[in-house]
């Protein structure tokens, strides 16, 4: 076991048999640990599998590794949160988890020249099928009517009722984790910022944190505050947009239209930090690239207050409309048990009553969290996810404003960037968990013998949460799918990497 803020030497991670690794993970998950990552690392004696587990109550991480060979007994039947990780292992490294209930590819190869293992092309997979004369199948996508990313959804319907939904993703697989290992250093940060385009700051923060933890660099408080400000601005913009989109899907026009504009206000504040509305090129290992002066802080705080006031008003109009509440209440329910078993993260988990929030569970610095709280709802329906966003809107706006004030008062006292040594220490592993607006963004970096990357693993919150959408649709009406989908608003490219 090791402290989450420290790196651990690769050789200190116990090498056990694959069966021992599985039973270790299953046993820990029973005791409320969460499976953080399960992935393969190349080694001279074959592919090593690394399993990372997290215990939020003690703020401890644990890692084990094993050499599974070609096949092993799947842990998914006992530990459902491993299901996608095991499929990924099978697909990427050819290690077969025997007894996996639904073993099929996670992602599809890009059209031209797969760099590593040959993967099946788009759509070449079996789908779960319900038989029966009165059962009908509806297939949506991967090309959609709206301007959204590609994803394929297959519904097994009995009349208007959905018996089963299978979600097939992986159409925009870019092999981003592999790109991290092979790209020149200056390109790595832009790649991170494009893991999921709407979580640029979340992923960049996670990457910078991994590098800093590996190098043992301590970032200044000012940089931490700037990073937190950027993260909360990202949350504000996305929550505002999502609340508008939920309004749009219920056919409630005013909030849908207003929030479109207000989202732009938040994005424009972010663009004052670094010149990019999505916060690109703001962070760097060692801190942030651009500092704020006192005057800019004051004017941004003013703009933030105005944008928040508009957002609050617009969302309240929606939440006070009885027809909207009737539409949202009880739609797309995910139970607490399912949420825990599937290892959901972020908003989706908190709306089911699972208390996970990386900002409080795995704080990036020792600063007080201020107005940020673990907001919870217990009903797990679309309403819960809507109200949760609305609550977090309040917290994030207050936190961002307080941070702007503090940055303004303490302007010039402290640098916002420290230098990071060029070479990282050899053969170590570090983990970063950052609460992006969707949920926990987890990055794991492992350095090789020469200090360059041996493996880099990215786990976007969407990777865990897509299955929750399938669960939410069970027994629901097919016409409620778009609304349920919007209430999760998961990332396709964050999953596809």
């Amino acid at each position: 076991m090791f402290n989450y803020r420290e790196s651990v030497a690769w050789n200190d991670i116990p090498l056990v048999s694959m069966d021992a690794l599985c039973s270790f993970a299953v046993e820990r998950c029973r005791r409320n640990w969460r499976l953080l990552a399960l992935f393969g690392v190349p080694s001279p004696s074959g592919t090593e599998v690394v399993c990372l587990l997290a215990d939020a109550s003690a703020r401890l991480l644990d890692a084990v590794r094993a050499l599974p060979g070609r096949a092993y007994d799947s842990m998914t039947p006992q530990c459902p949160q491993a299901h996608l990780f095991e499929r990924e292992l099978f697909e990427t490294w050819g290690i077969r988890p025997e007894g996996h209930p639904w073993l099929k590819p996670v992602r599809f190869r890009p059209a031209e020249g797969g760099k590593r293992n040959a993967r099946p092309g788009p759509g070449q997979a079996d789908y779960y099928r319900v038989e029966g004369a009165e059962v009908h199948e509806v297939a949506v996508g991967p090309v959609h009517a709206g301007v959204i990313e590609p994803g394929h959804f297959r519904f097994q319907c009995y009349g208007e009722n959905v018996m089963h939904l299978e979600i097939e993703l992986g159409f925009q697989h870019r092999d981003a984790e592999h790109l991290v290992l092979t790209s020149p250093a200056r390109l790595v940060l832009p790649i991170m910022e494009n893991m999921a385009g709407d979580t640029a700051i979340g992923h960049a923060t996670a990457y910078c944190t991994v590098v800093e933890r590996l190098s043992g660099v301590k970032v200044t408080d000012r940089a931490h505050i700037l990073r937190r400000l950027a993260l909360e601005l990202e949350r504000l913009a996305n929550h505002t947009r999502d609340l508008g989109a939920i309004g749009g899907d219920t056919g409630f026009l005013p909030t849908s239209a207003w929030n479109g504009r207000i989202t732009g206000d938040f994005l424009n504040i972010t663009s004052e930090l670094c010149g990019s509305r999505f916060g690109r090129n703001l962070l760097c290992p060692g801190g942030v690239k651009w500092d704020l002066d006192a005057e800019l802080c004051r004017s941004l705080a003013k703009r933030l207050r105005a944008a928040y006031r508009d957002a609050r008003g617009s969302v309240d109009v929606m939440l006070e409309s009885s027809s909207v509440l009737a539409r949202l209440t009880g739609t797309g329910r995910v139970s607490f048990e399912d949420a825990r078993a599937l290892g959901l993260v972020g908003m989706a988990a908190r709306s089911c009553g699972v208390a996970v929030d990386a900002r409080m569970d795995w704080p990036l610095c020792d600063l007080d969290n201020g107005t940020l709280h673990k907001r919870m709802r217990t009903t797990g329906d679309v309403l819960a996810r809507t109200l949760l966003r609305s609550d977090e809107l309040n917290d994030s706006a207050a936190s961002a404003e307080a941070d702007l004030m503090q940055l303004g008062f303490s302007s010039g006292e402290e640098a916002c960037r420290v230098s990071v040594p060029e070479a990282m220490p050899a053969s170590r592993l570090a983990v970063a968990q950052v609460e992006g607006w969707r949920g926990e963004v987890c990055h794991v970096g492992i350095t090789g013998k020469d200090g360059s990357w041996l493996a880099y693993k990215v786990i976007d919150p969407s990777f865990h949460n897509w299955f929750a959408l399938a669960m939410a649709l069970r027994g629901e009406q097919i016409s409620d799918f778009p609304l349920c989908n919007k209430s999760f608003n998961l990332s396709y490219c964050g999953h596809d990497l």
Partner: protein
């Protein structure tokens, strides 16, 4: 003379029908703080579509191409049975409301068949929903008509019982002659207008989400002139239901005043639809029958009140 007047009114209605949709869009835009499309956008769209080519799916037959034409013609034919601007339809006869209702039913049937002909699962879903709504809406319409007919009979209306009698200043007269319960039929017809024209809270005509659509999903595969017919057919249908609603409210007036106020009445209906669409969310699909049921019970209640006198 009367017939020529009616023909003029009829042509006016056909020419103005696409304007109502422009008014709805403008009202919705104002609520959302947008400027909105031009008022005449639907005219431009129809004109544009008429000169476009048509794309036909591989599996489709003549049923698919015939659907929009039949639907449009039946809407226009049904409109020709309505009194317009105070002029009684020259085609009016005792019981013509049954023909009117089933002309609309035929239009729906053709649309549903055309949707099923594509073989797309979306269109099949839309067709099933549309058929359900049609089946639910029909008895409500007839309950409302029955209430009007019983009142007309008990008040001793001398002329034959046709749409031109019942929706031409008759209802306000009845309100004043001790039959105020007929006012509730305005609500019933209002709900029917929303249901039959697939407006919010029943269906969202502007959504791009094919899984939630009712009417729009059935016409996804149409293009070119046939799409123009679909759009014009819906515009006429909206005009028809708005005219029915206006006919329930307007008293007998001189011809010019009646023409003006009935057109204005249709535009007011369109604006009201725009307001409803702006301030209200859609109902969940399985609650829609409850809304139609509510309108049905109100209509039944009115009918009971008229019968127990």
């Amino acid at each position: 003379m009367n017939a020529w007047l009616y023909v003029a009114e009829f042509i006016l209605a056909l020419a103005l029908a696409p304007l109502a949709s422009g008014i709805i869009n403008r009202v919705k835009a104002k609520f959302a703080g947008r400027h909105g499309k031009p008022l005449l956008q639907l005219y431009y769209d129809i004109f544009k579509l008429l000169f476009k080519g048509e794309v036909l799916g591989e599996g489709t037959t003549w049923v698919f191409s015939a659907g929009p034409v039949i639907a449009m013609i039946s809407s226009v034919a049904a409109l020709a049975l309505l009194p317009l601007g105070g002029a009684a339809s020259p085609l009016a006869f005792q019981g013509d409301f049954i023909l009117c209702a089933y002309l609309l039913g035929m239009g729906r049937f053709a649309t549903v068949l055309a949707a099923l002909d594509t073989g797309s699962p979306f269109e099949g879903m839309g067709a099933s929903r549309e058929a359900l709504l049609g089946a639910l809406g029909e008895p409500v319409l007839f309950l409302a008509l029955l209430a009007l007919i019983t009142t007309a009979e008990s008040l001793g209306v001398p002329r034959e019982l046709s749409l031109s009698t019942l929706f031409n200043g008759f209802s306000p007269l009845a309100w004043l002659n001790g039959r105020p319960e007929l006012i509730m039929l305005v609500f019933v017809m209002g709900v029917l207008l929303l249901v039959e024209n697939c407006r919010i809270p029943v269906d969202d005509p502007t959504t791009h989400l094919e899984l939630t659509m009712i009417h729009e999903v059935m016409v996804l595969d149409h293009s070119g002139p046939n799409m123009a017919f679909v759009q014009y057919g819906s515009a006429v249908k909206l005009w028809l239901f708005s005219s029915l609603l206006t006919g329930l409210v307007l008293p007998v007036m001189p011809v010019w005043a009646h023409t003006l106020s009935s057109i204005l009445g249709v535009f007011v209906c369109a604006a009201a639809v725009g307001v409803i669409e702006s301030v209200m969310a859609r109902l969940r699909m399985h609650v829609v029958p409850a809304l139609v049921g509510l309108a049905g019970s109100v209509a039944a209640f009115v009918l009971i009140l008229t019968l127990v006198r």
